[in-house]
């Protein structure tokens, strides 16, 4: 547990040392939101939810690509001698989930400033969002591990991860639409459970497969 | 397989299959033909697609084999 928090803190320190890159991602999301605001002026609930998730997806993709690609081969060798893989992946996952959550909240704040906050059922909205973000973070972490060892890492990353994220995205859009009262659906609980189930399956798979991946 | 040959392969498959269906479906006449006698020709088209697809795959494999054979022949 101690070591997990150590790695977690180290990630945090590394991230904040590169203030430009970090600031760049937040600036990117703010700019996109402003652009959307200037183009549309007034958005409907449907457009709002789609914009929110598309911006989150691409900002998250950029951010997590960076988090693994930035590290050198030697650093990896050093980690390998220091930590066991389970601790490392847990710390990475926690860090990425929290980072994606922070990114999402900042995008949400920008969106509310410029375009309003049309959510009618905040509990459902935040529950669905947190589950969906967890799933997206797990998949992005896993795929960035596969793609990181390559020169063409970022293209490969989007090719590999976007199809895997699509089902989560579809469930998320549906849950968001329900929480915005755009559609009424009595079986939305099922969607939330589904999302939680997908998260659990993905998490289990990543934990099982990571040690194998780590060996290289 | 490198990425270029994958692209080639996908493109080949898709264009071939499209080429096979398009003449049958793009004209109203073709549509009526496929709807006649209880739409039995739709089944024929489906079987033809499977057969043509498999044939394309096998032709590609055949070409790759020929290339390898030529390599081996040159070596000797």
């Amino acid at each position: 547990m101690n070591r997990i928090s150590e790695i977690f803190l180290k990630e945090l320190v590394v991230e904040f040392r590169q203030k430009y890159a970090l600031g760049g991602i937040f600036l990117f999301s703010a700019t996109i939101v402003f652009l959307v605001y200037k183009v549309f002026n007034q958005v409907s609930g449907l457009e709002w939810s789609i914009m929110l998730w598309i911006i989150t997806l691409f900002a998250g993709l950029n951010a997590i690509v960076k988090s693994f690609v930035q590290e050198k081969k030697e650093t990896y060798l050093y980690y390998y001698s220091l930590f066991n893989p389970l601790e490392l992946i847990t710390a990475k996952l926690i860090y990425n989930v929290l980072f994606l959550g922070l990114l999402f909240i900042s995008i949400l704040i920008f969106m509310s400033l410029f375009l309003g906050f049309p959510v009618k059922d905040p509990f459902l909205f935040f529950l669905g969002s947190s589950l969906g973000l967890t799933g997206i973070a797990i998949i992005l972490t896993f795929v960035s591990l596969i793609a990181n060892s390559e020169q063409s890492g970022s293209t490969l990353m989007s090719v590999l991860s976007i199809p895997l994220i699509l089902p989560i995205m579809m469930l998320l859009l549906k849950i968001t639409a329900v929480s915005l009262r755009l559609i009424s659906d009595t079986s939305v609980d099922q969607d939330v459970w589904m999302l939680a189930g997908i998260d659990a399956i993905m998490l289990g798979t990543v934990i099982v497969l990571f040690p194998l991946l780590w060996r290289s | 397989m490198n990425s270029k040959s994958i692209r080639h392969y996908l493109l080949l498959n898709i264009t071939w299959i499209m080429l096979c269906i398009l003449p049958l479906t793009s004209q109203a006449q073709g549509l009526d033909f496929l709807r006649s006698t209880g739409k039995i020709y739709t089944v024929v088209v489906v079987i033809a697609i499977i057969f043509i697809g498999l044939a394309i795959y096998l032709i590609r494999l055949d070409n790759k084999l020929t290339k390898l054979e030529n390599h081996i022949k040159n070596e000797q």
């Binding site: 596969i146 895997l164 | 990425s3 209880g38 739709t42 489906v46 795959y57």
Partner: protein, 353 residues
């Protein structure tokens, strides 16, 4: 002449020929394609002109027909006049009252004769009550005994009004998906074997099986699209099952791209194996769980019966399961050819360097 290990390849071909023969030659059960008029009022005497498909009305000696309202209320036709094999006119005297005071009732037409057997055309006639003619001396709905039906002879596939002959696509389009899944399972099995043993041959096998499965997936999408055009009248609908299979294909195309990267052999094999396992696990909710939750045009969704029940009766089963096996064996054969080719290629290049 016949080499060892040839038997399953030959049996794949033979089973496929059996499916082709049976799937294309066995006739459909008789059914009704259209009926005029489609609506009537209580108290009328209507003459229904029914157009049949695969029927033999002309040679019928004793034909009977009923209009059925529910399990107890039905009326029998007065006569049976067939002009040819596929056309028959039936005269019905409709009762003047309806069992309860709803506005429009759908009536089902049941036809029974000694050559075609008995068959039902649901929602044949929509009956609305004409309040003006309501009187107490109306002809009551008879509680007919619908019994002593004739059986149809021989094996016949069920008749579905929109599907018609395309119900035979069950053996080709639907079986293709099942065969694809079997091949994917083999691919994942070999990926796991690779990770356990680090024997490069397992990577070749996993890749070949996944490739042929993706090819089957592309066939599935294209054939499904053609089938949809002539039944649902569109190449692509917003149906969940279609979207989910499209996503599944994208995931596996990403696998092929990953496998095609120019890494060193060992690393590429390991990454591909890991991604393959991950993709397969991601596929399970995609194809089996999510589509069941939402409405779909496919059977087995949104309250429709799944494979089984009426949609896949025993005559279809006789060819559906063999077709899965045949397509799987053919896929396995082609995968095996690819594996052998790759093996020879790698051996040759290894020897030369």
């Amino acid at each position: 002449m016949i080499q060892k290990g040839m038997w399953w390849k030959l049996s794949g071909i033979i089973i496929f020929l059996y499916v082709l023969w049976g799937g294309l030659t066995i006739p459909l059960r008789p059914g009704i394609t259209s009926i005029t008029p489609s609506s009537a009022k209580t108290g009328d005497t209507v003459t229904l002109k029914a157009t049949g498909y695969n029927t033999h009305f002309a040679s019928v000696k004793k034909g009977r027909a009923w209009l059925k309202l529910d399990s107890i209320h039905a009326i029998k036709s007065l006569d049976w006049q067939s002009t040819d094999d596929n056309h028959v006119s039936l005269r019905f005297v409709l009762p003047q009252t309806l069992p309860n005071a709803s506005e429009v009732f759908p009536l089902h037409l049941i036809i029974d004769n000694e050559t075609d057997g008995a068959f039902v055309h649901p929602n044949a006639l929509f009956l609305s009550s004409s309040i003006e003619t309501l009187s107490f001396d109306a002809i009551p709905w008879t509680k007919h005994e619908l019994s002593q039906f004739n059986d149809h002879q021989g094996i016949q596939f069920p008749y579905r009004s929109i599907l018609n002959e395309t119900i035979r696509n069950t053996f080709f389009h639907v079986a293709l998906w099942f065969a694809m899944f079997l091949l994917l399972i083999f691919g994942v099995y070999y990926s796991i074997q690779y990770l356990r043993t680090a024997d490069y041959d397992f990577d070749r096998k996993a890749s070949a099986y996944t490739n042929i499965a993706v090819l089957y997936g592309i066939f599935g999408i294209v054939t499904g699209s053609v089938w949809a055009k002539f039944t649902w009248n569109t190449f692509w609908t917003n149906d969940v099952k279609l979207n989910m299979t499209a996503i599944a294909l994208l995931i596996y195309l990403a696998y092929i791209i990953l496998r095609g990267m120019n890494y060193d052999q060992d690393k590429r094999a390991r990454l591909a194996a890991i991604y393959n396992i991950f993709a397969f696990i991601a596929l399970i909710p995609l194809v089996f769980v999510i589509p069941r939750m939402t409405d779909s045009l496919h059977p087995g969704n949104g309250g429709n019966p799944a494979l089984g029940g009426e949609d896949l009766d025993h005559t279809l089963r006789m060819f559906f399961y063999p077709s899965i096996i045949a397509l799987f064996l053919i896929g396995k054969w082609i995968a095996e050819l690819t594996i052998r080719f790759e093996r020879v290629k790698d051996y040759f290049y290894l020897k030369n360097t």
